[in-house]
């Protein structure tokens, strides 16, 4: 081999190997785990810290406290849990924008976990499942996930589908379903073998858990909550009674004894379509009056 070629080869290998820069971790990658202790928290300074270290340091929860604002390293805002052998951030479909760490590229809440999009670049990654960590698969919107059913839980103006809004959700995210069609989301289908059960008050719609505690096979509500169904929607709401009043900003709906937002007063929340504010009950009631508990 000519000396010059040998020299160039040596420098090339040296440059390749010597430049072991911290590799860019793919956004959809999830660290493996066996227990929650194998996972991490995100501190208020946006540092990723193992849960073991966070507990050893006595980090507090929440970044809005004066202590956390003064010292962002003394508290954490997000905590992972071990689900299906992967460290994931828990979330709810209606509030994933607040539940998932900001600036990490999370696009959606799929089956209770913050998730990333996949299948958006078929040219470079023809096998979309290969871009998701095992055992997750790329669940395609429009094929595996019924956009019509999903749109009911998204705010109106959700993009081309039959927009709707949940009385219970209070969701504020503006998700354009038109952009999602054809793409997918990395996650474990709820109907897959060994998949974790849906969150309380949700049911498995095929691949994705959707709110609906009155649906067949839905996960029961937790203790202290009651499944309330009206207007085609159902949700688990906190029960209340004379001995157990509702938290501030909520009122105890008579008859069903669940805490709901009030439509009168300082904490009033306007009623959505299909609901009317009852001045006596101080809550929004369905126009057809169909309100059931289960």
């Amino acid at each position: 081999m000519p000396p010059r070629l040998l020299l160039a080869l040596a420098f090339s290998v040296g440059a390749l190997g010597g430049c072991f820069l911290s590799p860019n971790v793919p956004p959809s990658f999830r660290y493996t785990c066996e227990t929650d202790d194998d996972c991490a928290v995100v501190t208020c300074r946006d540092d990723v810290l193992p849960i073991r270290d966070a507990e050893a340091q006595g980090l507090a929860v929440g970044c809005d406290t004066p202590e956390a604002i003064a010292d962002p390293t003394s508290a954490y805002g997000y905590r992972q849990r071990c689900v299906s052998g992967l460290c994931q951030f828990p979330c709810a479909l209606a509030s994933y924008q607040n539940d998932c760490p900001t600036g990490k590229g999370y696009n959606f809440c799929f089956n209770g976990n913050c998730a990333h999009l996949c299948g958006t670049d078929d040219a470079r990654y023809p096998d979309a499942d290969a871009t998701c960590p095992d055992p997750q698969k790329c669940v395609i919107f429009g094929e595996d996930i019924d956009l019509g059913a999903l749109s009911a839980f998204l705010p109106s103006g959700g993009g081309g589908q039959s927009g709707g809004s949940s009385q219970f959700g209070g969701s504020s995210q503006a998700l354009d379903l038109n952009e999602l069609e054809g793409a997918g989301i990395c996650g474990v289908r709820c109907d897959a073998e060994g998949a974790p059960a849906c969150a309380p008050g949700e049911y498995c719609s095929g691949a994705m858990c959707l709110p609906g505690c009155d649906k067949p096979g839905a996960t029961p509500c937790v203790d202290g909550q009651t499944c309330v169904a009206f207007g085609g929607f159902s949700a688990c709401l906190a029960t209340c009674s004379a001995d157990a009043p509702c938290p501030e900003g909520l009122v105890c709906a008579p008859g069903v004894n669940v805490c709901v937002t009030t439509c009168i007063g300082a904490d009033a929340v306007p009623c959505t379509d299909g609901f009317t504010c009852d001045p006596t009950l101080e809550i929004c009631v369905p126009d057809d009056g169909a309100l059931t508990t289960g």
Partner: protein, 188 residues
Amino acid sequence: MTTRPLALVGLLALSTACAGVQPQLTALPDQRLASLGNLGARSSFEIRTLYAAPEAPPPADAPPKPRKRAVTPILFTIGVVGASLLGAGAFSTGVASYGLRRRLDNSYFDGGLSYDEYDRINTNGERLSDATWGLGISAFAFAAMALIAYSVDWQRCGPLAPKRRRVAAPPGRCEEFGGTSGPQQPAK
């Protein structure tokens, strides 16, 4: 008044003129040898090559002058060996570092990585990377030392210099280490 400047001019003329006067040649012992010129004067060729002329051989009974031992071969050998060993080390650590990087890339979606595994691979990779740079720079320094040693030796026609260098070197360059300058007679 007019005689004084004339006297000064005359004195100046005499003094300058006298500076260019060659001293009288010593009288030759025999007038018949006058055509040989001054035998004590050096020609311009002799003056130019005066310091390049080889020294007179020492007397036979004089102790032999100790030959100057060259340091450059030692430095050259150390440089080559050091550069080779360190270069091989840099190559090895570089390959290992690259292998760890590839292992990371392949593990993201095939087999998975825990935080501990990722941290361990990342830490080892950065250490190997640092080692690659350190060994590489050290190897480069040793190679430079070997090159400098060889260059100095070549310039002085030392033991490392090729034979043709000693033959083609300017006069007086290659005697220090026992070499000879100038055109050599071909071996018969």
